[in-house]
């Protein structure tokens, strides 16, 4: 799959050319040119920071549409666990799953059991693995992509076990094929996603040749119809059993909360994640076994495509976990070990570094570029105003070096030139 394919789209009609998205982007992947934001595909990790930052709804997520359902004879939804946190404290997951079956899906499946199973698999895998430490979860796709472009040295730290959602879809397709006598291609499995990052992991997966999902719907787009269907519907399947441990995965800290290994860390929010990754690269945290890392500030409940506020959603999950109570049917350890032996959880492909920008031919050329970039930066005002369309002066210098921009793009330099002042005078002011 093309790693330069992305979920984020900019709507030329709505974009006013402000620079909010460009400044918010953690990988400096957006430039505003001629009053339109443009994505540099080689730098984007689909985290959705731009979608959150945009006040004009110009940065949007490319998700599935109802017409995509028509391609399949049998349609199934697997919602993100975050969906259970969207309708307050009194709506049970069984009602949510039931409501989905009235929105064009033949059935809807719960993800919590696979999450619990994966937690146990991770525990077992950790006891048998070697360094480098700490190991890092691949569940949040924005984190995986961040490592691919910014922290390639940490690629060996990634746990080579597939995410719970992909595993659930894989298992479900096998089951439906066997139980309903359907051809695998007749089954359409759709995720209900809380974020652009997961959407993109389905569109252009990493560690996997092709996603086990056939598409994904944005949670916030299904919210209205779902709320209506929940209100009209009944109590749902009374026998539906939900894993309390699995449901916790909707929150940052939820993965490790259900694990036996207590030598773990939870890191959430892009800034904190980079702080910690910088240190891991410097050899710190080697005594930690496992790091659960999320690009969103509270984990998936704070995803950019959710409806319920992140604090209310956290409370809803915590309430649900209490309500589900002690689990009388935990996932059996022998079963998980057998699945591990059968390589059920394994990533299909190695996760490789993503070459983010064209590299110099050799050390000497790279050093020449760096000096040139420093000289360019010295001529720029370093106000990081972003009016040129690049998020800061250093990025503009880099773009000029690559022939993608010019010093004239800087408004301060342009004003100085129009007023007949030299750059040096401008710099003193």
């Amino acid at each position: 799959m093309d790693q330069n394919e992305h979920t984020i789209l900019f709507d030329a009609e709505r974009c006013i050319g402000c620079v909010a998205c460009s400044v918010a982007c953690p990988t400096r992947a957006i430039r505003v040119r001629h009053s339109l934001a443009r994505l540099k595909p080689e730098l984007c990790i689909d985290c959705g920071a731009c979608v959150e930052a945009c006040a004009y709804e110009a940065a949007r997520a490319r998700t599935s549409s109802p017409s995509d359902l028509q391609r399949f004879r049998y349609r199934v939804a697997i919602p993100s666990l975050t969906l259970y946190a969207q309708f307050g404290r009194d709506v049970h997951p069984a009602q949510v799953l039931d409501a989905l079956t009235r929105l064009g899906f033949e059935s809807a499946y719960d993800l919590s059991w696979m999450s619990e199973t994966l937690g146990q698999a991770t525990d077992a895998w950790l006891t048998e693995s070697r360094g480098p430490w700490p190991k890092i979860s691949v569940t949040c796709p924005a984190i995986v992509r961040l490592i691919q472009i910014r922290y390639p040295e940490l690629l060996p730290n990634l746990i080579p076990l597939e995410s719970g959602r992909e595993l659930a879809a894989k298992m479900l397709r096998r089951r439906l094929t066997a139980e309903h006598g359907l051809a695998p291609e007749d089954i359409g499995i759709f995720f209900v996603t809380p974020c652009t990052a997961i959407m993109n992991s389905i569109l252009a997966p990493v560690g996997l040749d092709r996603s086990h999902f056939d598409g994904a719907f944005a949670l916030n787009e299904l919210y209205g119809p779902l709320l209506k269907a929940i209100k009209q519907g009944g109590p749902g399947d009374p026998d539906a059993r939900i894993s309390a441990r699995g449901v916790m995965w909707a929150l940052a800290g939820g993965m490790t909360a259900g694990m036996r290994n207590a030598n773990t860390m939870t890191v959430h929010g892009m800034r904190d994640v980079q702080f910690v990754f910088d240190r891991i690269e410097a050899g710190k945290f080697q005594s930690v076994d496992f790091i659960e890392a999320w690009s969103c500030p509270d984990g998936c409940v704070s995803g950019g495509l959710t409806m319920e506020g992140r604090y209310a959603a956290q409370r809803a999950i915590q309430h649900l976990v209490k309500r589900l109570g002690e689990q009388d049917h935990p996932v059996k350890e022998e079963k998980v070990r057998a699945m591990l032996r059968e390589h059920f959880f394994d990533l299909e492909e190695e996760i490789r570094a993503r070459e983010s920008r064209s590299a110099a031919r050799d050390l000497r050329e790279a050093i020449a570029w760096k000096k040139e970039r420093a000289a360019l930066l010295a001529r720029l005002p370093r106000k990081d105003c972003a009016a040129c369309g690049a998020p800061d002066c250093a990025t503009l210098a880099d773009d000029i070096l690559r022939g993608e921009a010019s010093l004239d793009d800087c408004v301060f330099l342009r004003i100085a030139r129009l007023e007949g002042r030299g750059e040096s005078e401008e710099r003193k002011r």
């Binding site: 040295e153 410097a282 050899g283 050390l363 790279a366 050093i367 000096k371």
Partner: protein, 155 residues
């Protein structure tokens, strides 16, 4: 007092293709690790092998935290040569009375406060030496310490 630990041609002369300096302030725990991160970012722009970056970053982080914990101020200079990256870190501070002792794993003069922050395990200097191809240390009590270490590029 000084100790030279010759590990593969410590004093190989060579053309300096690039150099850059950073200042580290003692006691500045809030910014601890930033210089090591900046050096890493520079080396990455030079497409230096990840393994070289990793080893030098470990050394830089340890050295930077040593300055923050024990010295007043230091200048870290990165030099890039055709065959290696080298760091010279000269600090103004209390100096090290017994370098032999400081080079032993587990030996530390860290205060309880530093240990609380997760430092002071007594692995700093040994860890730098372990990760580098060249290493030298020179220290004068009451004046300061100069460290020099480097990692060779793979052929």
């Amino acid at each position: 007092m000084s100790e030279e630990l010759p590990r593969a041609g410590a004093e190989a002369p060579g053309e300096i293709l690039y150099s850059e300096r950073w200042t580290i302030r003692g006691g500045d725990f809030d910014h601890g690790g930033e210089v090591a991160a900046a050096v890493k970012s520079t080396l990455r722009q030079f497409a230096v092998a990840p393994e070289v970056i990793r080893r030098l970053s470990i050394a830089n982080f340890e050295a930077e935290m040593n300055v923050i914990m024990y010295a007043e101020e230091a200048v870290l200079e990165l030099q890039v040569l055709p065959d290696r990256a080298r760091v010279t870190l000269a600090d103004r501070g209390q100096g090290i009375p017994d370098i032999g002792l400081a080079m032993q794993e587990g030996w530390s003069t860290a205060t309880p406060e530093m240990r609380q922050r997760g430092f002071g395990a007594g692995l700093g200097l040994p860890n730098i030496r372990k990760n580098c191809d060249e290493f030298a240390i020179e220290s004068t009590v009451g004046v300061g310490t100069t460290l020099r270490y480097g990692v060779r590029f793979p052929l």
